[in-house]
Amino acid sequence: MIALLLRDLRLAIRSGGGFGLGLAFFLILTVLVPFGVGPESQVLGRIAPGILWVGALLACLLSLDRIFALDYEDGSLDLLATAPLPLEGMTAVKALAHWLTTGLPLTLVAPLLGVLLSLPAPGYQWLLITLAVGTPALSFIGAFGAALTVGLKRGGLLLSLLVLPLYVPTLIFGAETLRRGIEGQATTTPLLLLAGITLGAIAILPFAAAAAIRINIR
């Protein structure tokens, strides 16, 4: 398990691994928004929570199809499926590796990008908290989508269509927690719901992803 995690992390940071792609996309998106809506800090501050959350979500989506597709193409998915590693554990580890290489860096740079969007001062800690709690769900839901589309030629677009609707609850509760945090309202309920979605995704979706892979590699 640890060997697989280390291998995936190593592959991600080697050339062509796609690490940083999501980060660069997130940066460009948040830089573009002020050009589009104008520089007034009041307007930007109001829309910043939503923009930052949507940006993080899209940046996460960008690297989803690599989770299983690369292993499928070079044959290692077949070999992993016959290895003494449970397929459920394999999908969970690969989703975790995806989070460590996209969700976690996105969470860490988001406060810096918040400055570009004049995020109000109380928002920074809530931005960190909501992204840290919410992005694991994005990786695990995404891994399930990637498992469903593995083996399809150019399955990336279909993957986006499948996965984006499933991201809606995470987006709603993540952005809502952040907004309430900024306005000083109670955040417990949406934050608990956000955490619940993440825990549910981590508990259930590796099994669903493993089942999808078993069918897709037949």
Binding site: L11, S15, D74, D78, L79, T82, A83, R218
Partner: protein
């Protein structure tokens, strides 16, 4: 008996390709699977590996002792030869990759990234993976593709050593590997249109 297959039928993409396959494989034995392209050698090996379900028949096999080497070597281009082997060694719970590197003459290449290897060198690395699995039963799908004569010799030696130490090997191949082994020709087991229809009826009855 390490592996016993009786009356096995298997399908590729939903179409039955082989029916009534029966054979056994004892420890110390190498069995060569022969037959024209498309007869179902790969399908048979994938079924034995548990990657796809059998249509009918029985497979008696200890999957914990089984290692499968497919057409594709499953190498990661940006990892070095040693890192690729290390990964599989860790997955299979073995530690030592040096004998595998030596058996396929890969020691000088061990720090080279896999995308800088030639096709034959990649294949040798893929075969070295079998040695680090530490499994008793090997199933190999056309292992000698893109190997030169010397490398085929290395491979034959590795299989002989494996069988001599109590292992067994099932090898789908078209060429002469240069050692004594039993041969199973799959041509007589080709699924005919009739048998395909029989399976179809069976399936509709089972599902409707």
């Amino acid at each position: 008996m390490e592996l016993k297959v009786s009356d096995l039928a298997c399908a590729r993409g939903g179409i039955p390709v082989l029916t009534g396959v029966s054979f056994g494989l004892a420890s110390g034995q190498a069995l060569l699977l022969r037959g024209p392209n498309g007869i179902g050698k790969t399908t048979l090996l994938r079924t034995l590996a548990g990657l796809q379900p059998a249509l009918a028949g029985e497979i008696s096999l200890d999957r914990e002792a089984f290692a499968y080497a497919a057409h594709a070597d499953g190498l990661k281009a940006t990892l070095t030869v040693a890192e690729n082997l290390w990964f599989w060694a860790r997955i299979y719970g073995t530690r030592d990759i040096a004998p595998a590197l030596a058996a396929f003459n890969l020691e000088d290449l061990s720090e080279r990234q896999a995308h800088n290897l030639s096709a034959g060198q990649k294949r040798r690395l893929g075969l070295a993976r079998l040695l680090v699995t530490g499994r008793r039963i090997w199933a190999l799908d056309e292992p000698t593709v893109s190997l030169d004569a010397a490398s085929v010799g290395l491979f034959a030696q590795a299989v002989k050593a494996h069988c001599a130490s109590g292992g067994a090997a099932l090898i789908a191949t078209h060429i002469d590997l240069g050692f004594e082994a039993e041969v199973l020709d799959l041509t007589p087991f080709r699924a005919t249109a009739d048998s395909a229809r029989a399976f179809d009826d069976g399936f509709s009855e089972a599902f409707l």
